[in-house]
Subunit: 345 residues, 2 copies
């Protein structure tokens, strides 16, 4: 879901980008027009994250799934070990890819309870090359509300909660995020990396997979996804105009409080996640009487609410409440749930 004004501005840019008389789909990626786009987007990312010197901001392709392999390819030597948290489907995929490049030590797992919580006390061996975790688990509906304490470099997949809240981003050595949740449309991946982290693995790396090459080329190593980067810029501008990450977090909390309070008050529904680990972005739950699920989804659809079905890997129901979701949509859903519960409770 994107803000309406981002959609309007994106459509306008396809007809006439910045009044230069060309479409954003046609402008060359080495024109000053596009260099301005990428520079402004980088600056906004650095501003939101309050990044200290030494970080690079890259706009790449291939989504988080590509980062699952690009991170270990660049950071993890054949004989080295990286620590990974296994807290859901995306983290598991990252672990699988990392094993192709080096050793993986799963230091924290929530597999014993269907990934319905975030592990609290765990130890990261100091010789680990890095610690990788997924800040928000879209499928399971959990979110890390604190940053793990560790002395090893922190790597995080923030695809689904990036720019939804202020964080101490300088505690991370590498952050990546597919754009399609809070940061724009599918087709571009944000990577924020501490330069000092790179260059420690002797392996030969194809230039297109080498963070260092992308840094040297300022994200213009090859033709970048021009339009997707522009939509990301429009979304970043919108976040800033609305009040930045502080305001995004405030809205997320209001939305999530309303939703979870409604959920907890209705015995017909069962939340799937431990209270203290609930995601502000994705709420997962089931209906006690499973046979009512289809009827509930039907009612949602009739009221213009789509995408409530849980991820195909876990089933159940899921409500996503990303940055651009207006409170009124959550209110409408809550009132639908209350009526549904009254009818079927």
């Amino acid at each position: 879901m994107l803000p309406q004004e981002v959609l309007t501005q994106s459509a306008e840019a396809i007809i006439n980008f910045n009044n230069v008389g060309l479409s954003i789909l046609e402008i060359g990626h080495r024109t000053s027009w596009f260099v301005d786009v990428i520079e402004e987007a980088k600056l906004l990312v650095k501003e939101f994250m309050q990044l200290q010197d030494g970080y690079e901001v890259l706009f790449l392709q291939g989504g988080a799934t590509t980062q699952f392999m690009q991170v270990p390819l660049n950071l993890l030597g054949d004989a080295e070990t990286a620590a990974y948290c296994d807290n859901g489907i995306w983290g598991s995929k990252a672990i699988k890819e990392a094993k192709l490049y080096g050793h993986v030590n799963v230091v924290a797992s929530s597999k014993d309870k269907n990934h319905s919580y975030i592990p609290k006390a765990f130890t990261v061996p100091t010789e680990s090359k890095y610690l990788h975790y997924t800040t928000n688990n879209t499928v399971e509906g959990t979110e890390w509300h604190t940053i793990p304490e560790t002395t090893v470099p922190l790597v995080a997949d923030m695809s689904s909660d990036i720019f939804s809240r202020p964080m101490d981003f300088n505690r991370f050595s590498l952050i990546y995020a597919g754009a399609q949740k809070n940061m724009g449309a599918a087709g571009v991946t944000l990577v924020v990396v501490k330069k000092s982290l790179l260059g420690t693995v002797p392996r030969k790396i194809s230039s297109i997979l080498d963070y260092q090459s992308h840094i040297e080329a300022n994200s213009l190593l090859n033709t970048p996804p021009v339009f997707a980067i522009y939509v990301a810029l429009l979304t970043l501008r919108w976040i800033k105009k609305e009040g930045g990450l502080v305001e995004m977090e405030k809205r997320a909390k209001i939305r999530a409080d309303l939703f979870y309070n409604t959920l907890d008050a209705l015995p017909l529904f069962t939340p799937l996640v431990a209270k203290e680990d609930r995601s502000l972005m994705n709420a997962t739950f089931t209906i006690k009487d499973e046979t009512l699920e289809a009827a509930f989804l039907e009612e949602c659809k009739a009221n213009g609410m789509v995408g409530i079905k849980g991820h195909r890997s876990v089933g159940g129901l899921r409500v996503s409440m990303y940055n651009a979701m207006p409170l009124s949509s959550v209110e409408a859903l809550c009132s639908l749930m209350e009526q549904f519960a009254k009818k079927h409770g």
Copy 2:
């Protein structure tokens, strides 16, 4: 350059995709709406290429530069040798990447004359794993007007002349093309691959780089670049409506004939490429008196013609005439060149 109606339709889809009341930037990639998009695009590719059974059509990310490494990663074993043609900047980059994965035998090079021609007689050892070449060299302005004769599997980078002419596409085992020339906007890469070619290399391959994984997932292994695929579909529809590849080739020949005839008739300008190897997509030339180059570019710009400057790696001048370029634009440029030659000749 994209057809005007593709731009208009793209902008409309950002506001309201297919009248479903959602933006193309918001629809899920697993909805039937998007599956229909990808299936129609695949069908059109198969139809244009008249592909026999056994081929798969994929829509990936990362551009031709990613294919430079993905091709050898998937097809070339550590101890095997692939034959490559070195006919320009893109081919050279492909060779560099292939060397990371196996042995490269450069069987045909035009390096001796600044890549200003296409090698005609060369031998491809029968034990080569495949022969790789770039069908059109955007930077140098050459194009292969025949398909090389060989018994080994043919792999071609068709990024810059795909769908500009009918070809016997069934002679290829793997074809790839970044979309941003004739097939849409930057952000999606077409890969057409013969399934029987895959699975012969024992190396472990990350799923995101494995053609086989993408085939099994029907290009939905991870979130695909939804919007870029949709723009590609709109462009494919436009090609079909206009008369298909036969009509695209007819138009390309009329444009190129006009341009090269004008170029050859004006002694002020020097074509850079051997007559029989000239590209129908990209014409490269210089002005005999180099000091006039800036004045010429200035005059072009004043008349709304941008992008005439040659690639930064070779200099000189370059005119690109992709599918969507109207004949009137070439006519305007030719008349500008004639007037410029009269003034300065």
